[in-house]
Symmetry: C2
Subunit: 83 residues, 2 copies
């Protein structure tokens, strides 16, 4: 999912019908591509959010998720320095 969200335009064409990509991609799009149930995908996304890798924005009945690039940079640096 994290890789998918790196190129949302390519991986989630259906998102165009939900107002574009500025806020991220909504759960239903990710679920359809993942082939897992709605509850599983929702839980995954909330875990990734708590871990700081993605950000959520609620707009109406939709929740949009997008990557937090800073977290990946930080993880990469942490592996370099601490591990």
């Amino acid at each position: 999912m994290l890789e998918w969200l790196k190129e949302p335009e390519i991986n989630f064409p259906g998102q165009l019908e939900h107002g574009g990509f500025e806020h991220g991609v909504c759960v239903g799009q990710i679920q359809a591509k993942a082939g897992l149930t709605q509850s599983t995908v929702s839980e995954y996304l909330s875990i990734l959010q708590r871990a700081g890798f993605i950000e959520a924005k609620r707009v109406g009945q939709w929740t949009y998720y997008k990557r937090n690039e800073g977290a990946f940079e930080a993880l990469s640096k942490l592996i370099q320095s601490n591990l």
Copy 2:
């Protein structure tokens, strides 16, 4: 364990009695510090070895393990570029 092996002289003083650190640290030293059973530590180390994070060298009845720094560098870069 991976962090311990970054500074073997500091974390495994008992290793001095096993011929020093040039080949790495032997399993018994790591086991004592980890506080887990011998079998568990042996399995951990073999998993880390298969994953490429450490290298093993058998010398007599001892197996010495040491870090493979390249693997950490590669992981850090992989997170930067692919994730």
